[in-house]
């Protein structure tokens, strides 16, 4: 999480410098964020080696087989959900944590799964490194992926594309199997859930001083699983947040909205930040900079439809200005 912006220093600056500085901070924070979103379901499962047969692979979610391309050492890493087969004579060896499995033509398709040992390590520890994955891979728009949620206003929102039938939502602390809350038979097509019970569970969790990030899981009627990791705004941060927001309230509309958006972002409240950017954009709908900032903020919370819409508008505005 970024360090909150010191509003006192900012407010002593000339207003044009304030706006420019603010925009630079926001742009720097959003640098490198890709413009499109897609689901990220890549979990390392093993390696295929000694490929001595003509082999094919079906990637996860794609039924079209492709020739298996191996790299140096006649090897290729495997991702959970992929399928492999030998289409001719010979064999290949799949190396998993549980052991090695030779595959030949007679075995047909071999479904690659992440074994219990690999899963065990993920339950033991969380990655303290980065791959540079973008945040907008989650199907959830609220709570924001790896962001913070304010309990009082929290409504669960998700993208409905690809969701089949009713969904079951459940909540547990990250790395724990202890389920804090569960709600079944929620219409997947509704795209949102406004539940007092959910908020009460979150409030109770925060009340007892628990600090581990939470994992909200969703399973649709087809058995597809989605999840989002988020944290709760700490009680002590609430006062700081409110004080910082209040300081922006006396400013001009655009500065106010941008200042509030920056404040929300610094606390990881990306949903609220996006709303503030939208408000700023309503004040100056043709501003290229605001279009860019709002698109980035919407992308940050996974609202790719709105982000794409704003990106198109931005392209048109740029073309017009040229």
């Amino acid at each position: 999480m970024k360090k909150p912006v010191d509003t006192k220093i900012i407010q002593n600056l000339p207003s044009w410098l304030r706006v420019c500085g603010l925009l630079l901070v926001v742009l720097a924070g959003l640098a490198g964020t890709p413009r499109t979103a897609r689901a990220q379901q890549t979990a390392f499962a093993g390696i295929v080696t000694d490929v001595n047969c003509k082999a094919e692979v079906k990637e996860s979610g794609n039924d079209t087989p492709r020739p298996l391309a191996v790299g140096n050492g006649n090897r290729r890493p495997l991702i959970a959900g992929e399928q492999l087969r030998c289409t001719g004579p010979g064999s290949m060896t799949v190396v998993l944590a549980e052991g090695r499995k030779p595959i030949s033509k007679s075995d047909g398709w071999f479904a690659v799964q992440q074994g219990a040992i690999l899963q065990g390590m993920a339950k033991y520890a969380e990655p303290a490194f980065t791959r540079g994955a973008s945040p907008d891979d989650s199907i959830f728009m609220s709570p924001p992926s790896d962001g913070t949620a304010e309990i009082e206003h929290l409504i669960v929102r998700w993208k409905t594309a690809g969701i089949q039938g009713d969904v079951t939502l459940s909540l547990s602390p990250q790395g724990s199997e202890h389920e804090l809350w569960r709600q079944a038979a929620v219409p997947g097509a509704s795209g949102s859930l406004d539940s007092d019970g959910f908020r009460q569970v979150l409030a109770a969790y925060r009340e007892r001083g628990a600090s581990a990030p939470l994992l909200l899981k969703m399973q649709d009627a087809a058995g597809k699983n989605y999840e989002v990791s988020f944290s709760l705004l700490a009680t002590r941060d609430e006062d700081d947040l409110n004080q910082m927001l209040t300081e922006w309230n006396s400013r001009d509309a655009i500065v106010r909205y941008l200042g509030r958006a920056s404040t929300y972002s610094s606390f990881g409240l990306f949903v609220e930040a996006a709303e503030e950017y939208e408000s700023a954009l309503r004040e100056a709908p043709d501003s290229s900079l605001l279009l860019q900032l709002t698109a980035a903020a919407e992308r940050r919370i996974g609202n790719s439809t709105r982000a794409a819409e704003l990106a198109q508008k931005l392209d048109r505005a740029m073309a017009k200005s040229e």
């Binding site: 890549t42 190396v95 090695r100 390590m121 490194f129 980065t130 790896d146 202890h178 581990a212």
Partner: protein, 477 residues
């Protein structure tokens, strides 16, 4: 016991005769009261043991956990106050600005390897002590060739440069689950195995912040002959620090631990407690990847441990963690590795073992019980006349011991890096124990009196019945 509660010592006798006379006659009484004192000490000890057990039970509850968490936070703040930036040998290079590349046929992104290589090249030229790349190098299909090029360069960097005869730069990259496949596959090629470092951060319970980092992981992998082999992989912090954790002195090893062992299916790990004192200092001294000084200032990274990762600006990486003593904020993993490396380079943190905690809990109770018993023993002759004010003495000693316990907790972390996170709990428990003990002793004594009285009555009745029978027999004759 009733006499003692009055709490006043008997007035001294005025004449020498008067002084001597009761002393002679009180000899058996003194012995009797001496046994009372011993009984009180034993009861007190039993109560101390009972309350120590109750303490352990309470510590397992949500309230107890929260109490300990708060104390641990305070101890971490103590460590923070002791941190001297002049002793910081670790620098984080923040690569938030390096763009990611999109995989061609799978749904994932990865940090641009060419940009990463350029950065490592510039850093290596400054002769750092070690380089840790906190970027995931788990093998994935679409980045095979990019990884291959980068890891080949890193493997070369580790070796002695024959042209300049300069020693190689130890460099390690972050790995996670792929380690479980063994050295031949963890980083795709066996030649890259020495670059592998474990970069997982052990999860804590839902009510606690993660306090430990892995020192090393022993992977039990299956080789090509289907035999199980062991492979020890250091964590990113341990690999870059290159300092093993020395065990505590032999005489203290039963009471103090510096590492704990965890056994899981397919691997074992050794963990140690991390000192987050330098966290703010490390963040403040973070260098951006495109900082021009990296290429120009020859002394910027000379002899330092350089950790490369997405830093505080990385709100989007998913690599953000809650840390003890720094609640309300999330921190990137690279800072955890940096603090862990600092911990290993300086004094590793220590924790009390179960035996150590038990001994300390009981010793603190004895610190109150024994002096009171000794004073009572010294003045046992005065017991029949009300004795000394031992309850008052006990209360004063309990309060002093409780304060000493908490102060010792703070002292222990400052001087010995001993994280006695239940010192506040023990101090509170001692005060409660002082209150409860007096009532418990009184209750036990009251029950003992009742039993004695009942037994006496029973004997009396039996005696009375026997006499009556004797009288009747006498009358009959």
């Amino acid at each position: 016991m009733k006499h003692r509660r009055r709490g006043k010592p008997s007035p001294p006798a005025k004449s020498s005769t008067a002084r001597r006379a009761p002393a002679k006659s009180a000899e058996p009484h003194a012995a009797h009261h001496g046994s009372h004192i011993i009984a009180d000490v034993l009861i007190g000890l039993a109560i101390a043991l009972l309350l120590t057990t109750v303490n352990w039970g309470i510590e397992k509850t949500a309230f107890g956990e929260q109490f300990r968490e708060s104390t641990y936070d305070v101890l971490q703040l103590q460590l923070m106050s002791k941190f001297d930036p002049a002793n910081l040998e670790i620098t984080v290079v923040d690569i938030t600005g390096i763009p990611t590349r999109r995989a061609t046929s799978h749904d994932y992104d990865y940090t641009d390897r060419q940009q990463l290589k350029n950065l490592v090249q510039k850093i290596a030229a400054q002769r750092p002590r070690a380089i840790g790349v906190d970027v995931d190098f788990t093998p994935y299909p679409d980045q095979m060739s990019d990884d291959d090029e980068f890891l080949t360069y890193c493997a070369k960097l580790r070796k002695l440069d024959p042209a300049s005869s300069r020693p190689g730069v130890p460099i390690y990259v972050a790995t996670f689950q792929s380690l479980l496949l063994g050295p031949a596959f963890a980083l795709y090629e066996p030649d890259y195995a020495p670059l592998a470092a474990y970069a997982g951060f052990p999860l804590a319970g839902e009510d606690e912040t993660p306090k430990k980092m892995v020192d090393s992981v022993v992977v039990h992998y299956i080789d090509e002959n289907h035999n199980t082999q062991d492979w020890t992989v250091p964590s990113l912090s341990a690999a870059t620090a290159g300092v093993p954790i020395a065990p505590p002195a032999k005489w203290a090893s039963w009471a103090i631990d510096r590492v704990s062992n965890v056994t899981k299916e397919g691997f074992n790990s050794t963990e140690f407690y991390v000192n987050y004192g330098p966290l703010d200092g490390i963040i403040a001294r973070t260098i951006a990847w495109d900082d021009s000084r990296i290429g120009t200032d020859a002394h910027l990274l000379d002899g330092k441990i350089v950790l490369i990762g997405r830093g505080q600006q990385a709100t989007s990486s998913g690599d953000r963690h809650i840390l003890p003593g720094h609640r309300g904020k999330l921190f990137a993993g690279v800072y955890i590795h940096a603090c862990a490396a600092y911990t290993l380079l300086h004094h590793p943190l220590q924790k009390l073992t179960f035996k150590g905690r038990t001994a300390l809990d009981i010793s603190l109770s004895l610190l109150v019980l024994i002096p009171v018993a000794l004073v009572r023993w010294r003045y046992r002759a005065a017991e029949p006349h009300g004795g000394i004010a031992h309850h008052r003495l006990s209360t004063v000693l309990t309060v002093i011991t409780a304060v000493v316990a908490f102060a010792a907790g703070v002292y222990a972390v400052n001087v010995h890096h001993l994280m006695w996170d239940d010192s506040l709990f023990v101090a509170t428990a001692l005060l409660i124990e002082g209150l409860v003990e007096r009532r418990l002793v009184s209750t036990v004594q009251f029950i003992a009196h009742l039993l004695t009285l009942g037994w006496g009555l029973l004997l009396f009745k039996q005696d009375e019945g026997g006499n009556r029978q004797l009288d009747e027999e006498t009358r009959g004759h």
